[in-house]
Amino acid sequence: MIEVRDLVVSYGTATALEHVSLDVAKGEMVALLGPNGAGKSTLANTLAGLLRPASGTVGVGGRLALIPEGRQLFPDLSVADNLVLGGWRSGERDPSFVYELLPRLAEVARRPARVLSGGEQQMVAFGRAMMSRPSVLVVDELSLGLAPRVITDLAGHLAALNRSQGLTVLLIEQNARLAFELCGRAYVLESGRVVAEGDCADLADDPKVAGAYLGGAIT
């Protein structure tokens, strides 16, 4: 569903991704871990077609939706308008299925997005992405700055959509604990290169990965 081969992306003279290869199969949930500045968001933006690769290939089967880092809503528009604009590519203009999934959004539908709490804003970003009726969802930092209860909630929705609709998910996270809980496989990106990949269980046992991303807690 996602097939990245030997991808190089640069900003001017600075190289953000160096020969990255990555696969996500249909219906799979895969995590991408890495510290700040590793190139995770660059990869997300390249997958979404917003950045052009310097070399290498990016293949995506089906429609891809991105939940960008920092939510990136339209602050002046209402929640309903934010959702409806999410349907720009799909032609979906009726957000009622999103309201069924996230009833809280129906209550705040007429409010401008900027007045919502962080958790509500992330729900809008999630709902807006779902409005494009994607078969692949790239989530850039689902948990950043959110309360644990909200994270559990959103993670639950993500897992449920993956199970019930076979939604393919690439979860970009700094919260490795959450990523390992949700995903079967993971890649670790550092300084623009994939430094580790494999089953989450194996990665959690890898002392280097555990030390860097799980605070060395899992042994």
Binding site: L50, F74, D76, L77, L85, R89
Partner: protein, 286 residues
């Protein structure tokens, strides 16, 4: 008192024309980040087209609509020149719009010569509460009001209008959901051309238009747009009306030759005040 009322209504009409120019500037700036210095040109193109078409014997209505369409095309072409190439910064695009304005001078002189041209508008005058007002002034006010209502409905109610607002609100997010921000920018330029064109068609019967009238129009329009920080349509409208009334009052009470200076002076004051305010904001501790 009746003189005052006449000046007030005339001033409002002048302000309306300024508001149309200014709203074009605001629409383009919001969506693309570009200050379009060719905005006055659109009005000139429309004014000169109306005068020619009416002169050729085409009827009222059709001539004005065709002239506004010509201005819309001029807007689109300006947009193509300014932001047609991907990756152009707003500052370079601004320089391109200045260039388009100068190029337009040459084209206009070739097509229409360098003498001012006028066009007949609505003839006659009416008496409003004891004040005599030319009907054309009332037409300007009415058409502007309708245009602003249509703009509000377009941006507030239609999907395309919301997509334009989305580009203004968060261009990156607009691209994330799949909106082609460059194409939306071109649409904004066309809309700017349309608004400038309406202003030109309305103003030409009141004051003759020549190729270089765009300077007066853009200075006034820019002053009003700066009043609304180039982003806020309602404050821009208020600023334009204020400017129009101030200028007409000044002219009416004997300072007619200083109209442009009044616009420039007000613009400078507003810019200094806003620059001061912006510095205060940026100096606040994070």
């Amino acid at each position: 008192m009746s003189a005052f009322l006449t000046y007030l209504l005339n001033g409002l009409a002048v302000g309306c024309a300024i508001a149309l120019i200014a709203s074009g500037l605001v629409v383009i700036h919001r969506v693309t980040g570009v200050v379009n210095f060719a905005q006055g040109t659109f009005a000139v193109v429309a004014g000169l087209c109306t005068s020619s078409l009416l002169g050729l014997g085409f009827p009222h209505g059709a001539s004005e609509v065709a002239a506004v369409l010509a201005a819309t095309v001029a807007g689109l072409l300006t947009g193509l020149a300014a932001i047609g190439k991907p990756g152009v910064t707003p500052l370079s695009a601004l320089i391109v719009t200045l260039g388009v304005g100068v190029l337009a001078y040459a084209v206009e002189i070739v097509l229409w010569g360098d003498q001012p041209r006028s066009a007949p508008g609505l003839a006659g005058a009416v008496t409003v509460a004891g004040a005599r007002v030319q009907t054309q002034y009332l037409l300007v006010i009415g058409v502007t009001a309708l245009t602003f209502v249509a703009l509000a409905l377009f941006f507030g109610r239609t999907y395309l209008g919301k997509a334009l607002t989305a580009c203004a609100s968060n261009p990156y997010a607009a691209r994330v959901v799949g909106i082609d921000t460059r194409r939306m920018g071109l649409l904004a330029f066309a809309l700017g051309g349309l608004l400038g064109g309406i202003a030109g068609v309305l103003v030409t019967p009141l004051r003759p238009i020549s190729f270089d009238t765009d300077v007066t129009l853009i200075v006034n329009g820019f002053a009003a747009a700066v009043f609304g920080a180039l982003t806020r349509p309602v404050i821009t409208l208020a600023g334009a009306l204020l400017l129009g009334v101030a200028e007409t009052m000044a002219a009416g009470y004997g300072y007619g030759s200083h109209q442009l200076e009044i616009a420039l002076g007000l613009m400078l004051i507003v810019m200094i005040v806003q620059a001061g305010r912006r510095t205060t904001i940026s100096e606040e501790p994070a």
